[in-house]
């Protein structure tokens, strides 16, 4: 721990080890004694108090700020969505096609755990206008209205847990073996016959206990905040528990890496500098490198290029050869043949409305093609990032954390798909009503009343289950466990060297 000589050495007298036979009960007592010693040493250290206080403080501030912002935003969105829905139903009598153009806005809901893990929510649009003929992308990214400082500095509870608690673990545990070896106290402990394995396990438990003092209050506050939030369900409790598990695994991984480096390093100073370098690389550099690499391997088009290719395909058909006029002619031919009549007037339904719906269907296929290609690129980028978690395990933790909280990209896409289905449903119903109840010539002058608007069910979105959310991130889970196993293996093989 880099503390002055003597402090650690004096503690050995407190250990009541009478013999060194591998008796399980004394083995457990040895571990317990070591753990208690480590715990007392740590908690008495001023450094622990300061750093622990700062991290706990940051965690609570992040939770508090996140909770208040989340509650306000959630109320805002839920209220706005029900208002939009009400406006749809309260439309005055008008032409259904005008109603379809009026449409309504879909506002992305905030999942309950978003106050802990904001995920991609500040960076995806929060609103989409569901109108006729057009599938609008989601706009109004919250981060756009924030300042550059907030992008540089803002920490949610999740980022504190992902990046700052590891730093705390480094500061607390870097000297667990390295400093003791440097000061020679490790040799004294070994001379008492303490097995190296007991030493490692005991120290791990002691350090974990010290960490628990800092983290458990924050976890309780988080759980309380979640329980108090509106619309809390048992599913959310399960999510919080899963989140806790993921972070516990992450802390175990970090502790294992720190102890492994401490075992290997020749002095406390070397261990600290190495670990700080590893921490800085893993948290500050690696995730960005991974994102940049994924983007370079699977690039996405510019907004302007995307929009112009969509417009081109809408006008000329997906194969580029069938402009609207031609498609309309073909459609008319097919329809006339299907009904066995020769003119439009003989059709049982309004031809103008049927053409409109056919054009919607064509538009839908164009949008599916282009948005599908875009989403496919994003999926490929995610796959690369997950694979790269082998060198940057923080990326894996982030994926799992955002998936459990419901603030990852797949959750956004699920909502976007639901909103788009709802939009298409509106078109089907409005055009269907026009087809059945109007004659060609009065298609756009006919009026429908609120009974027709009421045929459209309210927009209800159920978020995908945790299992569905985590299914896309199996690789991340595997990588994370792989890292933990590797770190434990390294400790196991090197622990016999601990006392040298």
């Amino acid at each position: 721990m880099g503390c002055p000589l003597g402090e650690r050495g004096g503690g050995i007298g407190l250990m009541t080890i009478s013999h060194s036979s591998p008796d399980p009960s004394t083995g457990a007592r040895v571990i317990q004694a070591i753990a208690r010693r480590e715990f007392i040493d740590l908690t008495r250290d001023g450094r622990f108090r300061w750093s622990g206080l700062v991290i706990a403080g940051l965690l609570l501030v992040a939770l508090g700020a996140g909770y208040t912002a989340h509650r306000a935003a959630r109320a805002d969105r839920d209220g706005a969505q029900s208002q939009m829905q009400a406006w749809w139903y309260q439309q005055p009598p008008k032409n259904p096609h005008s109603a379809a153009h009026y449409g309504l806005w879909a506002f992305k809901p905030m999942p309950p755990l978003a106050f802990v893990e904001r995920g991609v929510d500040p960076y995806v649009g929060t609103a989409s206008w569901l109108e006729a003929h057009r599938q609008n992308d989601f706009g109004f990214r919250p981060a756009m209205d924030a300042t550059a400082v907030q992008r540089f500095g803002e920490w949610s509870a999740a980022t504190v847990l992902q990046q700052l608690v590891p730093l705390l673990i480094v500061v607390l545990a870097f000297g667990a073996f390295a400093s003791e070896r440097e000061h020679g106290t490790l040799r004294q402990v070994a001379s008492l016959g303490v097995p190296a394995r007991a030493l490692v396990i005991g120290k791990s438990i002691g350090i974990s206990a010290a960490l628990a003092i800092i983290l458990i209050p924050a976890a309780l506050v988080g759980a309380l905040a979640l329980g108090l939030s509106a619309g809390f369900t048992s599913g959310d409790g399960v999510r919080l528990a899963l989140l806790a598990v993921v972070y516990l695994v992450w802390f175990a991984l970090v502790l294992a890496v720190v102890l492994a480096v401490s075992l290997w390093a020749s002095s406390g100073k070397r261990a600290l500098v190495t670990l700080l370098g590893v921490w800085a690389f893993s948290c500050a550099v690696a995730p960005r490198l991974v994102a940049a690499g994924a983007r370079a391997l699977h690039p996405t088009p510019s907004r302007a290029a995307f929009q112009s290719s969509v417009e081109h395909d809408l006008a000329n058909g997906l194969d580029g050869h069938s402009p609207a006029g031609e498609r309309a002619k073909q459609f008319e031919q097919q329809l006339l043949t299907a009904h066995g009549v020769r003119t439009r007037a003989e059709l049982p339904e309004n031809f103008d409305a049927l053409v409109m719906q056919a054009s919607e269907v064509h538009g839908d296929s164009v949008y599916d093609h282009h948005f599908g290609a875009l989403n496919a690129q994003f999926t490929k980028q995610t796959a690369i990032q997950q694979a790269a978690a082998v060198v940057a395990p923080l990326v894996a933790v982030r994926f799992l954390s955002t998936a459990i909280a419901g603030t990852d990209l797949t959750a956004h896409r699920a909502f976007a798909d639901a909103a788009e289905s709802y939009r298409r449903g509106i078109q089907v119903r409005m055009n269907g009503w026009l087809a059945r109840n109007t004659k060609p010539g009065e298609t756009f002058s006919a009026r429908a009343d609120s009974a027709v608007w009421a045929e459209v069910p309210p927009f209800v979105f159920t978020a995908p289950s945790v299992r569905a959310a985590l299914a896309s991130y199996a690789v991340s889970g595997v990588v994370l466990f792989g890292w933990v196993l590797l770190a434990f293996a390294v400790i196991r093989t090197r622990s016999h060297l601990a006392v040298e």
Binding site: V120, P142, V149, V171, A284, V285, L289, Q381
Partner: protein, 489 residues
């Protein structure tokens, strides 16, 4: 051994050049900088290419509109319908003659991505209301946006201090731990001068590397990356400002290392203290400032704006005034059209209704814009709390990718949109048809100009925020170094 500081520095410099870890740390910094620069330059290039395509497309549209007007003037109106007739100013003001207002990447944009990946860099100007413009920000993976970009500015703000600290944290404590400090004290040399020389050389090593990296990056960008030519567009003055910020920021951390070295603690304690300072200034203070700014100056959500737009539309739809009243409202705001406006003209009425909606929405959006700017101004003021925040703001402003330049872009957008719509509205209300001359007379798109001298005042404030605490800490540390051998722990 000579007592002269210059000779001491030269000697330490020679020693340092043989130190492997010194070269290793510079190598790591250079490697990171290369990746960061590659990131930044690819993004700048992407923006430039996109903007070039947009201008080309705009030119094509202009040519085809021109050709159609020429054809119509000759009496040939094949393929022209009412909705696509370019002689109608209402039609001409929409998609056919849309102009692109572009925020082109500045000469140092490759060095700092800043907010430029979040905010739109190109907007389409038509007579349609700005408020209902479609989504125009660039497509990017939200996970990548969340992670942030590894650009040179990030390296300078977050990692460069760690390199400065890593090179200088154990100069005094290392000498003491190796036992050479007392050896040094026993010789007839000014111990303080020797230690300062060691520290200065090591600090300058990293700071010099950072400056060289920045200069190289800017030069490579301007020659190979297709960026602005060297002398043009103020690249050199901006580069000078960038290097000044880098040197000032590095000097602050160097001063902190000097002060901590003078405290006569062990190397590991020094490392933890300096790490704590880095943590406090680079992590904690920006986090607290972000929270304070978002709580004290909250911005209403865009969702509430969308609801407000709908609300205004609802209100206007339920209380439909007579044509004369609607036109009257419009003319109250635009008296210059009074003599020519006519309720019988559908286009004029459409304009009048759109203007009525805009008038209802103006106060709501004004509040929103005011709050956004208040938040940015508050963040600007609070940057004095941490050299990292001050340096962050300074670097983004110099590169032109922060909120400051985007605000200029937004103001230009609002002004140009007003001129553009006035040009076409004038012709709608007066029933004038568009001619080829009119097409040429459409107001030209302005370029977003931000001469380097407008940056000087805020930059000087930021530099003061970085250097003043550094100077205080550094001078205290230098004084205390004199006592470093009198009490050993």
């Amino acid at each position: 051994m000579s007592h002269h500081l210059g000779a001491l520095v030269a000697r330490e410099g020679r020693l340092l050049r043989r130190d492997r870890t010194a070269w290793l740390s510079v190598a790591i910094l250079v490697a990171l900088a290369i990746v960061a620069f590659a990131n930044g330059t690819s993004w700048a290039r992407f923006q430039r290419n996109t903007q070039r395509t947009l201008r080309a497309e705009e030119a094509m549209r202009f040519d085809s509109a021109h050709a159609r007007l020429v054809r119509l003037a000759r009496g040939d109106s094949t393929g022209i319908t009412g909705a696509t007739d370019p002689r109608s100013p209402a039609v001409a003001g929409r998609a056919a003659n849309a102009r692109w207002l572009l925020l082109s990447p500045g000469p140092l944009a490759a060095l700092a991505v800043g907010q430029s990946d979040l905010l739109p860099h190109a907007t389409r100007i038509t007579t349609a209301s700005r408020r209902t413009a479609p989504v125009s920000e660039e497509i990017d993976n939200p996970v990548a946006l969340m992670t942030g970009r590894l650009d040179l500015a990030y390296i300078m703000l977050v990692l460069y201090p760690l390199f400065v600290l890593a090179m200088t944290y154990d100069v005094v404590s290392g000498e003491r731990e190796r036992g050479t400090l007392s050896l040094l004290a026993s010789q007839p040399v000014n111990v303080r001068r020797v230690l300062l020389a060691k520290l200065a050389v090591r600090g300058a090593w990293v700071i010099g590397a950072a400056v060289l990296i920045s200069i190289t990056a800017a030069l490579v960008e301007s020659t190979l990356g297709g960026g602005a030519a060297l002398a043009a567009s103020g690249m050199l003055s901006r580069l000078a400002l960038w290097c000044t910020v880098v040197i000032a920021y590095g000097t602050f951390w160097f001063a902190a290392a000097v002060a901590v070295n003078a405290l006569r603690r062990s190397s590991a304690v020094n490392a933890v203290m300096l790490l704590g300072l880095w943590f406090a200034l680079v992590v904690v203070t920006p986090a607290l400032v972000s929270n304070v700014v978002s709580v004290a100056y909250p911005v209403p959500s865009r969702i509430s704006l969308a609801t407000a737009v709908r609300d205004a539309q609802q209100q206007l739809a339920t209380r439909v005034p007579s044509r004369a009243d609607a036109l009257g409202e419009f003319l109250a705001e635009h008296p210059q059209y009074r003599a020519r406006a006519d309720t019988a003209d559908a286009q004029t009425m459409a304009l009048a209704n759109a203007a009525r909606l805009d008038a209802r929405l103006r106060p709501v959006f004004a509040v929103f814009d005011r709050r956004v700017r208040a938040q940015q101004d508050a963040a600007d003021v609070l940057r004095f709390l941490s050299p990292a925040l001050a340096a962050h703001g300074a670097l983004l402003d110099v590169a032109g990718t922060g909120n400051r330049r985007w605000r200029t872009f937004e103001d230009t957008w609002i002004a140009y949109h007003a001129r553009f719509t006035a040009f076409f509205f004038e012709r709608v209300v007066s029933h004038r048809t568009m001619t080829v001359d009119d097409l040429a007379a459409v107001p030209a798109v302005p370029t977003i100009d931000e001469p380097a001298r407008t940056l000087l005042a805020p930059l000087l404030a930021s530099l003061a925020a970085i250097l003043l605490p550094g100077l205080l800490i550094g001078i205290w540390g230098m004084r205390r170094l004199a006592h470093v051998t009198t009490v050993a722990i």
